[in-house]
Symmetry: C2
Subunit: 212 residues, 2 copies
Amino acid sequence: MKKKSIPSVTINRLSIYHRCLEKILETERGEELKILSSLKIAEITGINSAQIRKDLAYFGEFGKRGLGYPVVDLSGELKKILGLDKKWSVIIAGAGNLGKALVKYKGFQKRGFVIKGIFDNNSSKIGKRLGHIFIYDIKEVEKFIQTENISIGIIVVPADSAQEVADRMVAGGIKAILNFAPIHIVLSPEIKIHNVDLSIEFEGLTYYLSLC
Amino acid sequence: MKKKSIPSVTINRLSIYHRCLEKILETERGEELKILSSLKIAEITGINSAQIRKDLAYFGEFGKRGLGYPVVDLSGELKKILGLDKKWSVIIAGAGNLGKALVKYKGFQKRGFVIKGIFDNNSSKIGKRLGHIFIYDIKEVEKFIQTENISIGIIVVPADSAQEVADRMVAGGIKAILNFAPIHIVLSPEIKIHNVDLSIEFEGLTYYLSLC
DNA sequence: TAGATTGTTAATCGATTAACAATC
DNA sequence: TAGATTGTTAATCGATTAACAATC
């Protein structure tokens, strides 16, 4: 709860720093790399070292001058800042291929995300399971969010129904949405929405290839 | 081949404009919306209208003053700019869940992307198919890229092997990579690489949720 | 202490947006 | 013509990076 608001790119980079440190803790069994300079982190992540120090300075003084940042401590601090010290309940709207891939995605458990249910409007899917997760009728999503205390909704439905699904989620009380549907969803500003748009990524590449 | 280099966020937004226009052409059967003002596009996409005009102005004068932008013409121009008037051959490295979802992803055909092969190092997968696409040994990827003239490689292997796979792709002559592995891949600068990082997106949401 | 690296300020860079003359 | 919207300039905003005093 800082005064000056923190750029969202900074938060994105905190994720990268955190992952970098976690990896070091996993592999190098603690001994050698007790401490890491911003220059060393820069080398691993490809991010400018001044940027790293500035990003971290938004949240406190985690470093030791002349030495660097203690790996264990900083990793723990970042974990707390990013809310990865808590468990988060998640639902997925859309029992398609991408929904399936997300259900099986290993990174979720690792970060304390628990997928509580999948929702779809296709009656041939409702009542079945995807992985080990039950598929419910999308009409039940509002009630489910309330009773199961869901924090995060993932939208992997077609663009046409994405706005409607998002509205349902918000009506149920969801606070954050990750949207994979290629459409601009409008919600009241206190709901956090992030968009992942694969087409944009691909078309950035084809634009570049066309120049050659 | 413009002189002043164009911001990559501008290219991303061109994708959004293009998609917006295509959708209008699909739904409104041509009649009413022959022309669209930047203000109207702004309304649909959520992007500032001055921004839209500026983005388009990098590439030419597509609008009619007093009226707006002709939908069909502008859509065609954007299609050309983004290289979507050509076919692009693609390979996927990693026959996991995400690879599977990508193989089945409808948006590919629509944009002229043709998936020519999938590559993995798991001998129990090699020789089988994912969807209708054959799975090859990752060791053959260099040769395959050369002989099949592949332009785009998609990396959906674990972080540990991503750099190695990328190096192989580049050795084969690939020019653009879309990387889903959560690691910083280093390549010579003429190779275009875009990263899609799901963890970062999620952790942006949990950071926000933790503030509440 | 001398050497190294942080935390932070100031300079730079680049992107967004407002404003308006040009013009359909 | 009068009204509307583009294309473009100028102003604003914000993010990145260099530089360095503070300090371990």
